[in-house]
């Protein structure tokens, strides 16, 4: 095997595939990148068997062949080469990386050890605007759990709704729902948030083909493909949580609210909530800690409700993450009472909602 390529092209391909390589892989061989050179292309595969990235780059091929190299080492080595043209060549069980002075030798791994990964099946894929999809993923994955003891909550439910493709995630303390209008999926599934978060840094492009198969979700573009094994199990029935109407609501400036919650967070902790008093003047935020001190601040806003005022308490981090995920200058916060879930949306937009469970005080 011998190829010549531009350093930047090569670095990009390896970096993308490297995103799928876990630091604690089940099989040692999965620390490696599978590389195939043929037809004027270098095709690179990285996988932890749950998330698999396949990408390719046009190169000048002097000799075809396949090999496996340690992912981190290869990726870092290419990135550190001087810019310009570099060559890759297999010599006696090693890969030589050379160009404009430096030369790395990289030990190959045994290609026979690499597991057989089924080729991604793009059947039934639908085209989705890449930017919108990335935005939607970023908005809902904040609400996904990272607790491996509750695997179902580490996923994002992708399903069809009345208005299009719907993405839903919850860690049971909050729930984020985003609709992408006019997208009709071929199926539904629970996609690990960990894999979805890699989309932007791997194969995202202006148009992304999305297919949800029985066992995996496949995202593909001109940059390659990202396949993610689905989580098995039933996602919580989130629809029953969404009340038909909220009798009380307040509209607030997003940045002003974020700043205020940020200040209150200096006092708050995971088990010390911030308290919101919603009323005519807007929202008064207070937080008090016996051992440290407190903070109080009025965020002015427009309140409309059946109750004269509502007191409700939230975990400060969950609240600010929800406000941050909401896209718009004005946000609308809807509440029923102190013990019912509250909903945050962008004022005047209904394609995203962030449902937040209160803290009972």
């Amino acid at each position: 095997m011998q190829i010549r390529a531009d350093r930047d092209d090569l670095a990009e391909a390896f970096s993308r595939a490297n995103r799928a390589v876990g630091t604690k892989a089940a099989l040692p061989i999965l620390q490696g990148l599978l590389c195939r050179v043929s037809d004027g292309m270098l095709r690179v595969t990285g996988s932890d068997t749950e998330v698999t990235v396949r990408t390719s780059v046009e190169v000048q091929v002097m000799e075809e062949g396949s090999f496996i190299v340690p992912s981190r080492f290869m990726t870092d080595a290419v990135r550190r080469m001087p810019e310009g043209t570099v060559t890759l060549r297999s010599v006696d069980g090693e890969i030589e990386l050379e160009g404009n002075g430096p030369r790395f030798t990289i030990r190959q791994l045994a290609i026979d050890d690499y597991p057989d990964l089924a080729e991604p099946d793009p059947a039934g894929a639908v085209k989705v605007d890449g930017e919108l999809l990335l935005e939607a993923i970023a908005q809902v994955t904040v609400a996904a759990s990272s607790d491996s003891a509750r695997p179902i909550l580490t996923g994002v439910l992708m399903e069809n709704s009345d208005s299009g493709l719907r993405l839903v995630a919850t860690d049971s303390y909050r729930l984020a729902v985003r609709d992408l209008a006019d997208v009709k999926m071929n199926g539904s599934g629970l996609v690990p948030a960990r894999g979805l978060r890699e989309l932007g840094r791997t194969v995202a492009s202006t148009v992304i083909n999305v297919a949800i198969q029985e066992r995996e979700a496949v995202f593909s573009s001109d940059r390659g493909s990202l396949s993610i094994r689905l989580i098995e199990g039933n996602f919580p029935n989130y629809r029953q949580l969404l009340p038909d109407r909220y009798p009380n609501e307040v509209v607030l400036g997003k940045e002003i609210l974020l700043d205020a919650v940020g200040r209150a967070s200096l006092v708050a902790e995971d088990h010390i909530p911030i308290r919101l008093n919603m009323g005519e003047a807007g929202v008064k935020i207070t937080v008090q800690r016996r051992d440290l001190g407190g903070a109080v601040e009025l965020v002015s806003g427009v309140y409309r409700g059946e109750l004269d005022e509502v007191d409700i308490a939230f975990n400060a981090r969950y609240l600010s993450e929800g406000v941050m995920a909401t896209d718009g200058e004005q946000i609308r916060m809807e509440v029923v009472d102190s013990f019912k879930p509250s909903v945050i949306r962008a004022s005047g937009r209904d394609d995203f909602l962030y449902l937040l469970m209160p803290v009972r005080v």
């Binding site: 759990s145 607790d147 003891a149 509750r150 919850t170 049971s172 303390y173 729930l175 919580p236 989130y238 949580l241 088990h271 010390i272 909530p273 308490a313 975990n315 013990f339 879930p341 449902l355 469970m357 209160p358 803290v359 009972r360 005080v361």
Partner: protein, 402 residues
């Protein structure tokens, strides 16, 4: 500025209150016939151990944690009373109410001992002795029980002082005399120095606290490990910055049982874990607490002991959550078919039930409702009235009490 009106200050503001032979004294309260006789509370079975011994029994060499068989050998007149933990818990509840009527800064170490920070009572008592006397008098008047009180400027000196105060007395490590008090002690009297540490210190030629204080901290850390070494160095030099924490992180609620005959096999172990989990959950609810960390303790027939723990996403007081965590821990412990002598389940990281509580989308689940119903039945008909189906009496599979 008014001259001569300096704020009063209690020089030794930490009290450690420790009940004398608590279980025995509660038994005597309910059965005055036991007064004046050597009494031990504990199991009567082959593997029963002494949980609490009266001072009459101690005079014959009986002490707690001793096998009951040996205790009876040393003291043939010994009256053995089976433990009634529910009753002790009830009295302990009243005891802690008394503590909290003095100060909110109460940190319980167990059912029958606690630290009280009485700094805030500086206008009420001229010194720590007056406060200690009042605490003892209240316990005596309201509960009819003897208590010993130690007072000092720091927690651990107060704890050691109460040991000196026993039985039924007061001992004060006066402010300024801490070093002379400490340096008169042997290292074995330091709270938290166990057998292993004592042996290592002994190998270094250290027997007394004054010798310990002279060892440079880095050397101690090398010999005993960083944390223990640094800790002991500070203690030996009278440095203890820990404050009384009302919701101490170390507090836990547990249930454990030493089996008359070893138990073997996963099915049986799981059934016993369910029993323990149910008991711990019930105790948590009674105490108005819930906890996030579940710990499992297993002692094998060869006395090798393993503990495993897991922290849950949410604090719980529900049998099912605790039991499920226990099963995961049991799987991780790799027990297999090894005979087990003791099983214990503990929940720590406790939070008061009425403290702030993050609600979840499945809040108010059916399991919490079920727990409430169980509590209602037990309150009316006793603890044995309702139990998980797998534990029902007579069911095969070894789950029934032996």
């Amino acid at each position: 500025m008014l001259a001569g009106m300096a704020e009063p200050r209690i020089a030794e503001p930490i009290l450690h209150v420790d009940m004398d032979a608590f279980f025995v004294e509660v038994e005597r309260l309910d059965d005055p016939g036991l007064c004046g006789r050597p009494v031990a509370v504990g199991g009567k079975g082959r593997r029963g151990v002494v949980a609490s011994a009266s001072y009459e029994a101690r005079a014959s060499g009986v002490h707690s944690a001793m096998p009951m068989v040996s205790a009876l050998r040393r003291c043939p007149d010994l009256v053995v009373a089976p433990p009634r933990h529910g009753r002790y818990g009830e009295v302990a509840g009243q005891l802690f109410s008394i503590f909290r009527s003095f100060t909110p800064l109460v940190e319980g170490l167990s059912l029958d001992e606690a630290f009280l920070d009485i700094r805030g009572l500086r206008w009420h008592y001229r010194d720590s002795r007056a406060a200690a006397e009042d605490v003892r008098a209240r316990i005596r008047a309201d509960l009819g029980l003897p208590a010993s009180v130690g007072a000092a400027a720091t927690l651990y000196l107060a704890k050691m002082a109460s040991g000196r105060a026993k039985p039924d007395g007061i001992y004060i490590v006066e402010a300024g005399s801490e070093m002379s008090f400490l340096h008169g002690l042997g290292v074995r009297e330091l709270w938290g120095v166990g057998k292993a540490t004592r042996r290592r210190l002994s190998e270094m030629g250290v027997e007394t606290v004054s010798e310990l204080a002279r060892i440079p901290a880095p050397l101690l850390e090398r010999r005993l490990g960083k944390a223990v070494g640094a800790h002991l160095h500070r203690l030996a030099n009278g440095v203890d910055e820990r404050a009384v924490s009302p919701y101490g992180a170390a507090k836990s609620i547990s249930a454990e049982h030493t089996y008359g005959e070893d138990i073997t096999g996963m099915e049986w172990l799981r059934a016993e874990l369910l029993r323990h989990a149910d008991r711990v959950a019930w105790r948590l609810r009674r105490a108005g607490m819930s906890g996030r960390t579940v710990s499992l303790k297993i002692r094998f027939s060869d006395f090798k002991t393993v503990t495993r723990s897991e922290t849950l996403a949410d604090a719980t007081d529900v049998t099912r959550d605790i039991y499920r965590a226990c099963c995961r821990l049991l799987d991780r412990a790799g027990v297999g078919e090894r005979p087990v002598r003791l099983l214990g389940v503990a929940v720590s990281g406790l939070e008061p039930e009425d403290g702030p509580r993050q609600m979840t989308i499945d809040s108010g689940s059916r399991w919490e409702d079920a727990a409430d119903a169980v509590d209602e039945v037990r309150a009316r008909f006793g603890r044995g009235a309702v139990a998980p189906a797998r534990l029902r009496p007579g069911r095969s599979g070894g789950a029934s009490r032996r």
